[in-house]
Amino acid sequence: MSESVLVAIAALFTTSCLVRIAPTFISLRINPSTQRYLERLLPAAVFINFAVYIAYSEIAREPAPALISLVVVGAVALFSLLGLIGTAVLGATLYFLLIYING
């Protein structure tokens, strides 16, 4: 196994221990403010950064196809027009089609 993949597996397993296994063994007393940050705001901050990171990485590679495709994907997700797989197919097809058209 490559070191980078091992680190990824360790991170994900540690996450599972923290968020799925540990709570079944210990009694958690979380105040409402902390609970709000844990459950809603911290993940939301991560997802905003995800969206920016993805857009930054992909637009740097293929500006117009990535921008158009990701805007469509974002709109589909925002308005719940399609499921995950349907959107993945739509977004990827649009991206590769635009690259093909651009030559």
């Binding site: 196994m1 990824a8 709570p23 079944t24 905003i48 995800f50 990701l70």
Partner: protein, 243 residues
């Protein structure tokens, strides 16, 4: 695992039979739903030089749809353990209350309890009900978990079979994973931030500001080291708008 609204504890759920066959019939739709997602992960992982063993290992030990997809680009960029942990823990922290509230349905033996807790997913939680026995909860979780792992392996095998020439040397094979992540991110943001109608303008402004800060920090620190300061700043900005 895709995001679904939990329905555990539903007192008005329809009655179910008690046999294993009944349980399997009940869990089958959820198990089938995870197959294409896990297969997609397997294909993409193999295409970015992951081995079959690595795909199976992360499916077994990680068991997280959005978490696994999130790690694909982070592995490629050589992100640190703590960056990956922060990202995956943030993605999966919704399991904290879910795991806590479903703990009463788990077996009491420590090892078995830990294993079944690890197999908790959105689909399993949505399939379970408050009155389910420990063995039934085990069956539900093991079925979805096993399906996830096998589908990931099948996807990885499929990814190896597809000739590279079909795809082209310059093709951006990681793009579908980016699409999946963008979809999951927007869906999560909508679910987490869009619920309070009267606060939408403030929350939207905070989200846009957070995105701008993230872009600035990517320029300053690069796409690997911007994560932690950017996530902390975004949390602070969102917290000010939310209160």
């Amino acid at each position: 695992m895709s995001e679904v609204q939990p329905s555990a504890g539903d007192e008005f759920a329809p009655p179910f039979g008690s046999s294993k066959a009944d349980t399997l019939r009940r869990v089958a739709p959820a198990a089938i739903a995870v197959v294409p997602v896990s297969m997609l992960f397997g294909v993409l992982a193999v295409r970015t030089d992951w081995s079959l063993l690595e795909v199976v290992a992360i499916s077994l030990l990680g068991f997280s749809g959005s978490g696994q997809f999130a790690l694909l680009p982070l592995v490629e960029s050589g992100a640190s353990f703590f960056t990956m942990l922060l990202v995956t823990a943030s993605i999966n922290c919704r399991y904290l209350p879910i795991a806590y509230t479903s703990a009463t349905r788990l077996p009491s033996a420590v090892g078995k309890r830990a294993c079944v807790a690890h197999m908790l997913g959105d689909e399993a939680y949505a399939t379970e009900h408050e009155r389910d026995s420990g063995p039934r909860v085990c069956w539900i979780r093991v079925t979805i978990f096993t399906t996830w792992v096998i589908a990931g392996l099948l996807g990885a095998l499929l990814g190896q079979v597809i000739p590279t020439a079909w795809l082209g040397a310059d093709m951006n094979l990681g793009y579908p994973a980016s699409v999946v992540l963008m979809y999951l991110s927007v869906s999560q943001l909508r679910a987490r931030l869009w619920s309070k109608e009267q606060q939408r303008p403030a929350v939207l402004a905070a989200a846009v500001l957070s995105a701008g800060v993230a872009l600035l920090l990517i320029q300053l620190f690069g796409p690997v080291y911007f994560w932690i300061p950017s996530v902390l700043l975004a949390t602070f900005i969102l917290g000010r708008a939310w209160s």
